[in-house]
Amino acid sequence: MRSAASFPIRDSLLPVVGVVVLVLLWYAAIAAKLVDPVLLPSPWETMKAMWTGVADGTLLHDFLRTVERTILATLIAMVLAIPLGIVLGSWPRLYLALEFVIDFFRSTPASAMFPLFLVVFGVGDETKILVATFGAALVILFNVAYGVMNARKNRLLAAKVMGASRARILFEVTLLESLPQTFVGLRNGVSLALVIVVVAEMFIGSADGLGHRVFEAQQLLQMPDMYAAIFAAGALGYCLNLLFQVAERRLVHWSGK
């Protein structure tokens, strides 16, 4: 038995192990002819498709379009939901009055809203972005309101005993108290926005975007292209999550301590 200390891989390289194992399994599946080679191209072919897509600009274009829609949807959702969440959270009776409605629509699959938004906004970009906004906003709203309502009473009392006004307590204590929960909402919100945008790009008369690319490649049986687009979507989701995580760590440095 080797001890952990003499294990020949540095800790920082360990995540690579999972990737290498996945690629080896992938090659093994192909070598063993477990899957029809048309349905499962090799990792190398997929890499090549990804490289070509980036080099000729088509994959990059689709990627950026999806980024644009997702970010836009998330930003609109933030602008709408954060102030509203603060109002609802600092006014618990109002929240109780609306809780059922918010919970109901939060639990409604946003994709079920596509037809409604299509009727109202047509098949343009608006519909894709606004359905994603709808989904993300409810998640963010719920978390902000929840964070504000559950701010530790002790710190509010501490500020009150110093003679702080209600507005000061709201902006300098309650809001900061609710930040960790707000970030939970933002991370879930942006993930949901990405899911909705990609689905919308697949099925709602879209000319570009990663969803469109995946769908089209599948229709044309261009499997390496399809896998390349799927991985690009995965990388996008991962990076968006990471972005919010880094922002949270810098902004809410006290979280969990």
Binding site: R152, R155, L157, V161, M162, G163, R168, V252
Partner: protein
């Protein structure tokens, strides 16, 4: 500083009421905690509050400090309603009382910002207060980077920075280890001796309550009344020898008797 010197010369011989509570009523739901409660807290003296669990010690200082509303009765500090008085309050749970998004020094300064004191004066006052405490803490740190004792010390400094008329402390040392508790008692006594501001300490440790106090307010079970309010005439500064002083041990024994009588009454 001038005020401090005057205060030292004027150590009161006769008690002058500072906080007056008259006809206080407070219930939580159907549970009545106070029903026509009266008490005076003398100016410039140290009062400890001791009583059975759940008798309403925290409730009493929260009512006096204006943190929760009274159902009835009148509370005045120096003849004024609480909202017109500068008070300091130290919470039991320092982890949930300090602002973790502010560095220790900004926590201490915060009440002055609320009071709209200009930046230069804020800095000067914080520097003066820090100099009074002979402890070496890096105040540029965040509270969560400090030990429990250091955090509670920062809480106390935050309460003192406004030079309050009355300082309330609700079991401030109960979350600290024994060594730190002893150290903090000394610190608090040192501040009291220097400033002679009115202090009200809730303690669940009878020895601490008697050791720190000029008077011990012994409470009964709810609905709460004063079981006794004895004077503790031991000289200051108090030190470990105080603990074996016959006057001290006799009074501690008396307080324990009163307490046990009240606990058994249920």
């Amino acid at each position: 500083m001038a005020r401090l010197a005057v205060a030292l010369k004027e150590v009161p011989v006769v008690d002058v009421p500072h906080v007056t509570v008259r006809g206080l009523r407070k219930s939580f739901g159907s549970v009545t905690i106070y029903d026509g409660f009266n008490v005076d807290i003398p100016r410039g003296r140290f009062v400890s509050i001791f009583g059975p669990n759940g008798c309403g010690k925290s409730t009493l200082i929260n009512l006096i400090a204006g943190l929760i509303p009274v159902d009835g009765g009148e509370i005045r500090i120096g003849g004024k309603p609480v909202r017109d008085v500068r008070i300091g309050y130290v919470f039991q749970n320092y982890r949930e009382a300090l602002f973790p998004w502010l560095r220790a020094i900004d926590n201490i300064e915060y009440p002055l910002r609320v009071a709209k004191v200009p930046k230069a004066e804020r800095d000067a006052r914080v520097a003066r207060l820090v100099a009074k405490f002979d402890v070496k803490i890096d105040l540029k740190r965040y509270p969560y980077e400090m030990s429990g004792g250091q955090q509670q010390l920062v809480s106390i400094m935050r309460a003192l920075i406004v030079e309050p008329e009355v300082l309330f402390l609700d079991e401030p040392f109960s979350a600290l280890d024994y060594e730190m508790t002893l150290f903090m008692r000394d610190q608090l006594q040192h501040i009291f001796n220097e400033t002679r501001m009115t202090m009200v300490l809730v303690s669940h440790d009878l020895e601490e309550a008697v050791y720190m106090a000029d008077k011990v307010l012994l409470l009964s079970r709810a609905p709460t009344t004063i079981a006794d309010y004895p004077e503790i005439p031991c000289p200051r500064p108090r030190n470990p020898e105080t603990l074996v002083d016959p006057v001290f041990t006799q009074l501690r024994g008396h307080c324990l008797d009163v307490f046990q009588r009240e606990v058994r009454k249920s």
